[in-house]
Symmetry: C2
């Protein structure tokens, strides 16, 4: 029997009517002969409301307690979803992260999945039930409740699809797929039918908000095709899948802009083995997620290392950077707050030349100054002034003709 | 080190300010040298709101899923309480029913505590932490989430006090103690300083809403003194404790009225051994909680059995009663809906005569008709028309001079 994993985001379960609609989709698949596993997020803005509630008490809640609080959101959704399916005459059972046996490490609010025991799910599927799993949450080895980070219900879904060897994994959301860029900024943005894991990973890490990065990593690692689609229509969305040959003809698949970044520059670091490793170990210990790292050697023989972090990690990062400044006796540390990053992504870059030039030229024509540049095999990013961000994205999108069907 | 268990009801944790106030009470005890365990209910009207949410989906949710839904209410409260205590500079940790190891049977929405593993709590207390336990909830042996019935956070608190051999157990609520009767109906109602478990059990089962019956049973069984008091003042409340000699001088301690009852009368049952047992086994199997049972033998040699149930069990009860009617080929079954019950309670009844007469006379003087009478060693109850309920309570309260200090 084929198995399908369906994931419904917050907007797709925002009220009783939408929950019933999602339930109907699951029942349809069940009636088509699929075994069905659903992964459900918290209803609508529930997570934000819970965070606001915590902030009425304290600005700095213990992360363990924040996880205890936030996981209630998904627990509400799964129980209501099970009720909706039962009320429609089909058997369903809801399971928390702990009950599913989704085991994570103990890093509260940013935990990583370590293992999933599929026994309970398989047992319930064997009884003919639709199984509804709480997204976003797990437990560590000692039974403490953990969460996987905002948006991580996607990760729960894809990880379950991998472990259960699902034939399909569908992510239902409030947009109808992945776009060449953010349609709210660039009205010419176009829906992509198919995109490779690597491109999607780059786009996700660049601020294309549709999918959680770790979900795509799981998809890539275990070969799970991920179908991102709208919960409000029946049209096909975007399939995230392994790279196929025809993708190489598309030089650039998408463009993205990420705002709310902060750039730190540490000039005058000794250019010795281990220095950089030491710095980023410190940041990792404070669970600061570093976005981009750029290092060049200056004429004095010292290294100038710069990196960007998300604005939300700013206060934690400043503490670490001050430690580093003292340790290496640096004269100054530059903190540019905020900066933006505009990027283009495409697997075709590997086999095409002139991509970087085309991007720099587009930005130059638009009189956007480039403060820093980083590239990967399939990505080019430029750090720019946030005031130029939207304009830059539009220019780059047009330069690579992303609005035209390839 | 002395151990105190503090329980805070929904109104005592209804918003951030009240949570902080409750946190402050716990911290005060901690600073006085107590080990502190808190049991917390869901905030304000949360449970009602969750039930309303379920009812938007279905009138008849599976009880397992209702438990999955409702337990989130307490999980929110405990995490916020832990945050409040941490923010005030003291260590605290929140624990769900499952994490505490509060094991129940598998009867969803009405589960009974079977065992509590105190290890985790003792371990956390040993670290100097205030331990915050989610009231009302547990898990069955296979890890399914259960609830103990509305108002059962009291039971969680007293059961914990028993298992942990606590020196004190305080129940914080929105009234300042147990009253001789409901002050909303009888303005002369007076706060009682001390009351026996048995009297309190009778009053609770008669609709005196302050304490959950099973909590008092636990208190009695394990000899836990329960101090019911207001979370908004520092005045002493009512201590529920073992019977002491001076209580015997008080013939009647309290009066109560219970509305929203339904009375079933089954006339013409064969008067054979096992018949009544069979009937109430059927009701128990459907988890209908029977209030009072009255049986008399009629002149034809058959038995007339009547019983009352809570209005909320009416539809379930009707199904069972119809089965019984068919099985015994009864001509008719009488269902009186609704009825009310007015009662007086007091351990002094055991050694005093004329108590029943005084009650019947008071009702007669008020022209209240008595449909049925049941008595226990320390209680007299009369089934009456709900239209007379408040008047009857006032008359009985006055007849036994419950407004006067004894």
């Amino acid at each position: 029997m084929e198995l399908i994993v369906l994931k419904f985001g917050g907007t797709s379960v925002a009220d009783a009517g939408r929950i019933q609609r999602a339930a109907r989709r699951a029942i349809n698949y069940k009636q088509q002969g699929f075994n069905v596993v659903m992964v459900v997020s918290a209803m609508g803005k529930t997570t934000d409301k819970l965070i606001a509630l915590a902030q009425e008490i304290t600005d700095d809640p213990p992360r363990r307690e924040l996880d205890m609080l936030l996981t209630t959101g998904e627990q509400v959704s799964i129980s209501l979803m099970a009720m909706a399916i039962n009320a429609a005459g089909h058997e369903a059972i809801s399971l928390t992260g702990g009950q599913v046996g989704l085991i994570t490490d103990a890093v509260h609010t940013k935990a990583r999945i370590q293992n999933i025991h599929a026994d309970r799910i398989n047992e319930e599927l064997g009884r003919g039930r639709i199984v509804i799993v709480a997204g976003f949450q797990g437990v560590d080895e000692s039974g403490e409740i953990t969460t996987l980070g905002r948006g991580a219900s996607d990760t729960t879904a894809v990880a379950l699809a991998a472990v259960l060897k699902a034939n399909r994994c569908e992510i239902y959301t409030d947009v109808d797929g992945i776009y060449t860029t953010d349609p709210r900024i660039v009205s010419e943005a176009r829906k992509i039918d198919m995109i490779s894991y690597d491109e999607m990973l780059e786009l996700a890490s660049l601020g294309a908000g549709v999918m959680h990065s770790r979900a795509i990593e799981f998809g890539k690692k275990y070969g799970v095709d991920i179908h991102v689609r709208s919960s409000f229509t029946d049209t096909l969305g975007t399939i995230i899948t392994r790279e196929v040959e025809k993708m190489e003809h598309i030089v650039v698949s998408g463009a993205a802009v990420k705002k709310d970044l902060v750039q730190f520059v540490l000039p005058g670091l000794p250019n010795h083995p281990g220095v950089v490793a030491g710095i980023f170990a410190k940041l990792a210990n404070h669970v600061v997620i570093v976005d981009d790292i750029i290092q060049t050697v200056t004429d004095g023989g010292t290294a100038s290392t710069s990196f960007t972090v998300e604005y939300s990690d700013l206060s934690e990062c400043k503490v670490v950077v001050e430690e580093i400044r003292k340790e290496y006796n640096l004269k100054e540390v530059i903190c540019t707050d905020p900066v933006a990053k505009v990027s283009v992504v495409g697997v075709g870059m590997r086999s095409h030349t002139g991509v970087a030039l085309k991007m720099f030229q587009a930005l130059a024509d638009a009189k956007v100054n480039i403060n820093a540049i980083t590239t990967s095999e399939i990505k080019i990013s430029c750090i720019i002034d946030p005031a130029d961000a939207d304009k830059a994205l539009r220019e780059v999108h047009a330069a690579f003709e992303l609005d035209k069907e390839k």
